[in-house]
Chain length 211, copies 2
Amino acid sequence: MTKTRRRRTKEEARAEILSAAAKRLLDAGPDALRIADVAADVGMTHPTLLHHAGSRDQLVQDATVYLMQRTAARTLEAMQRAGDERDLDAFVRESLEAFRDEGRSRAIAWLALTGRLAGTPKPPWTPFVAAAQAARERRRARGSGGSQPAPQREDDDVSTRSALVLAFLAVFALDLIGDTVLADAGLGEGPAATDRFVRWFARLLQRTLTE
Amino acid sequence: MTKTRRRRTKEEARAEILSAAAKRLLDAGPDALRIADVAADVGMTHPTLLHHAGSRDQLVQDATVYLMQRTAARTLEAMQRAGDERDLDAFVRESLEAFRDEGRSRAIAWLALTGRLAGTPKPPWTPFVAAAQAARERRRARGSGGSQPAPQREDDDVSTRSALVLAFLAVFALDLIGDTVLADAGLGEGPAATDRFVRWFARLLQRTLTE
DNA sequence: GATAGTGTCTACAAGAATGTAGATAGCAAA
DNA sequence: TTTGCTATCTACATTCTTGTAGACACTATC
């Protein structure tokens, strides 16, 4: 009966706890999070975890913020990498992959369902809007040769933002329930069906943002 | 201390229980459903509820099916009413309203997150696909005057189905997280912002399904 | 009006989950 | 080495939740 106690610094303990809690949060949701489970994941007893986390409610809240910030960073990076210059097909596909990998859709859905979404740090939309807007104007200038009437700036802006919102909503929903919906609609199953739909959707976006 | 016992038939009791359980399910999700709460809603004690429902798990499962069937009926009716002949603006708006009223988006999201979505009765897509396809061909025949080359039937079908899937996904996500996303993207707040986006999206759909 | 069937209740059992109290042990600084 | 700090543990208390047992009461039927 060798009892090997591992002693962490306060910060290490907190980091490990948050990470494990975020994982459980993603899997089973806030209501199903059990501090004893999280403690076991990290390798400590639940009173020790409480010593660091304060209370269950506090842990859920902290893990929520941690989760959203972590996934936001990863997602935005992927979107930025893909959305800058290349075509929208890559943009949509990479966004979807980032959402999927980090479980961002699930995180957002959990928060929305439990009424915590509003109180969460929001992602920065401004750079995307600016980039998309610039790309649109570039395409238009190239295409028209300057012979078209001056574009209506305001309508353009709303249209660009709407397209980005649509992309966000579609990727979110596609990740969450895409497989089921595509199958129900008779568009096939598995990754191939999703790929086809993503390509179709990217073409649609491209046309909208180019016109 | 007048104890007024109300005696229901087996069927009445079951119906009331299912309805109340579905409401709680929608609000707080499967994990947070407490049979004592549901029993209180209906006006009975929790052992009585168990007598009718069997067990908590059984109740959750039955309420899930009940909920999905009820919302499906209402939603499909609204979509059918709007999607048959009129423009797509009405179609999208009415779908969204139906989703919202019945909490169908929340129900779907709960099921998806807890891994129950696959085992749920699927809505009938065929009539919508057929109607949308017919409408598209009608529009095209009217527009082209018969001078265009014969349309590629297969691509057309995939495109129609894809558009319907996109509409479904968008309405679903818009209901769940639309307010937050629209606000984050700088497209305004409240019902007005949603309305504007719905109109924009409907125009997009219209163009896609008409070409 | 008596009787049978069963919907409903009260009381209790058992377990799970959060949180507290006090002892112990690992680590760093004197 | 010694000492102080605190991360960690064991043991316990409390509350919440599901589920069971058996008595009671409402309704229909004879």
